[in-house]
């Protein structure tokens, strides 16, 4: 393992900053913290962290602006920290290039899981191009990308073309939330209209095929008003 991964935390509330710093340090990461957007941008440029944790409500510049400026030159994973009720703000942040978000208030377990997921995906981007991907496993569900095969407890699941594409897209970014607009564009192309009903219907069909009870899903989770997240590959 390389030296400790570095996490840059941009957050103006001192109490929250100290609690996140403590947590992250205790899990063996290096932590750099900034209390304003400008400071965060400087630190990001000079220290090249492996993950950025960004609070959207900053005193000096808008959090969305921070995302845009970082994205001008760096693909570093950005996790947005935001309040629950602002689902539009979150979706906007994701569409502007943030990788994931975490809702205030959050537990340490959730925070560390998000950071690990982001680090893993960050490596994939820099790593080799996907030739043959290892299969996705979660509980009884397996997706074998080479054979185009989805199985549940060993039994083959019959999916339509679109459903398979959707499931592949979600599972390749497992653990990460994908916004409606991102999924729509990836599956139906850039000229699809804004109505995401077709996506919801397809997701409902997938749910009926891979979940025991569509109301208590185990594999694909809905983030209302934002998009979908697939359980992390085991």
């Amino acid at each position: 393992m390389n030296p400790k991964p570095a996490v840059l935390l941009i957050e103006d509330e001192e109490n929250i900053r100290s609690f996140i710093s403590t947590t992250i340090k205790n899990h063996g990461y290096k932590i750099i913290s900034a209390s304003s957007g400008i400071e965060g941008l400087h630190l990001c440029a000079s220290l090249c962290p492996d993950v950025v944790l960004l609070d959207l409500g900053l005193p000096d510049i808008d959090g969305i602006e921070v995302i845009k400026r970082i994205r001008e030159w760096s693909p570093v994973p950005i996790i947005v920290i935001s309040a629950r009720t602002h689902e539009q703000e979150k979706a906007k942040a994701l569409d502007f290039g943030a990788d994931d978000y975490i809702t205030k208030p959050f537990g340490t377990v959730e925070l560390m899981a998000r950071i690990r997921t982001s680090l893993r995906h960050g490596k994939q981007i820099g790593g080799t191009a996907m030739q043959s991907q290892p299969p996705y496993h979660h509980k009884e569900l397996t997706i074998d990308y080479d054979k185009h095969l989805v199985t549940l407890s060993g039994e083959m699941i019959h999916l339509t073309q679109i459903e398979y594409k959707l499931l592949t897209l979600l599972s390749q970014s497992s653990g990460k939330v994908l916004t409606y607009s991102f999924i729509m564009e990836k599956i139906w192309g850039p000229y699809v209209d804004n109505n995401n009903q077709i996506l919801r219907v397809n997701m409902a069909n997938i749910r009926r095929k891979i979940e025991k009870n569509p109301a208590t899903p185990e594999h694909v989770f809905t983030e209302i008003g934002i998009g979908y997240r697939m359980a992390e590959c085991e």
């Binding site: 009720t85 919801r200 409902a204 009870n213 109301a215 989770f221 008003g225």
Partner: protein, 349 residues
């Protein structure tokens, strides 16, 4: 302007009818006078103030004189009973106008009184809500303050186990507070004046699933079985708010009902609406509270003690949210517990 039109309209009609009588039943001229009197009564009734009534009686007299008494199409004020006719018509019109005006004022007064009553009702609801909020917020805050000061005062004497216990309690209380604040925040999504919300088509099973998973994060040991319709279902709603309602009802059932079997949460649909039902197998609700349970009424003093951290606000917020969705919500008891049911219409208004 409107009054002018009404006057002309009624007298026009009256003149037409009068002409008909004049040509077909010429032997009884009293009819013509009666027709004009009727027109006068109607004018006095449907115009505001006395002015048009008086004008009307003038018109009536002139018309009868001009059109229907010899010499025709000429005014002849020398006829004997003429001033008497005019006087009687005047009396009729003034009486009717006075009555009309009175009725109208009374109507206005009634409307105003109703408005005042509504305002008072709203004010009362707000006061009730504030009272139960303050009560509900004080309970966990007291716990947090008590626990933290116990820790600060005795930090050298406490064992690790005791310390953990204290912090666990603080954690529980603050989670509860957060839940409360989220409830209150959700209400701010409803426009206060029009009680309207921003609705969009949402998938019922996704909303149910998210509500369920959020509740499970907070209460991992909750035993709940969830059932949604086999068919994919989308209805107009504010998903955040409906999620809040589901969480409140489920949490209520988990925390307060002492259910002996898993709580059942079922969603069913019919042609017009979708029904959400939370059924528990617990202690049930006192019958006298059933009708007021959603009103956020403050508890009487002896109820406070056994009502662990009130369920008042949560339920009154549920009601506010469902009413804003043009749905219904109610609670009933069954043999072994109680059922909370709410419905949402399929077609948004």
């Amino acid at each position: 302007m409107k009054n002018c039109f009404i006057t002309l309209f009624f007298f026009g009609i009256a003149t037409l009818i009068a002409f008909w009588f004049f040509h077909n039943v010429p032997e009884n001229p009293a009819n013509i006078a009666l027709v004009y009197i009727t027109a006068l009564v109607l004018v006095a009734r449907f115009t505001t103030g006395y002015f048009f009534g008086i004008i009307g009686s003038l018109i009536g007299v002139v018309c009868v004189n001009f059109l229907f008494t010899y010499p025709y199409f000429a005014l002849n004020f020398s006829l004997t009973n003429y001033p008497v006719t005019f006087l009687f018509m005047l009396i009729i019109s003034i009486t009717i106008s006075a009555m009309t005006t009175q009725i109208k004022t009374q109507g206005k007064v009634l409307l105003e009184r109703e408005k005042l009553l509504m305002e008072a009702e709203k004010e009362k609801m707000r006061a009730n809500l504030l009272r139960s909020i303050s009560h509900d917020l004080r309970t966990p805050l007291t716990g947090i303050i008590g626990n933290t000061s116990a820790y600060i005062d005795n930090k050298d004497k406490l064992s690790d186990e005791e310390k953990l216990d204290i912090v666990t309690h603080i954690n529980e209380d603050s989670n509860w507070l957060l839940n409360m604040v989220e409830n209150l925040l959700s209400v701010t999504r409803i426009d206060e004046r029009s009680m309207k919300i921003a609705k969009s088509e949402e998938s019922v099973e996704e909303v149910v699933a998210e509500a369920f998973s959020r509740l499970q994060k907070r209460l991992p040991h909750a035993q709940i079985s969830v059932k949604v319709p086999e068919d994919f279902l989308m209805i107009p709603m504010d998903a955040m708010l409906i999620e809040q309602v589901i969480i409140n009802l489920l949490e209520n059932a988990v925390v307060h009902a002492n259910s002996k079997k898993p709580i059942e949460f079922t969603v069913t649909e019919n042609a017009n609406q979708v029904t959400f039902q939370v059924k528990d197998y617990g202690i049930g609700i006192a019958p006298e509270r059933l009708s007021t349970i959603f009103d956020g009424t403050p508890y009487t003093s002896e109820q406070v003690s056994d009502m662990h951290k009130g369920i008042g606000i949560g339920l009154s917020i549920c009601k506010t949210i469902i009413v804003a969705h043009s749905g219904t919500i109610h609670a009933t008891n069954h043999e072994n517990g109680c059922i909370f049911t709410f419905t949402l219409p399929k077609e948004g208004k």
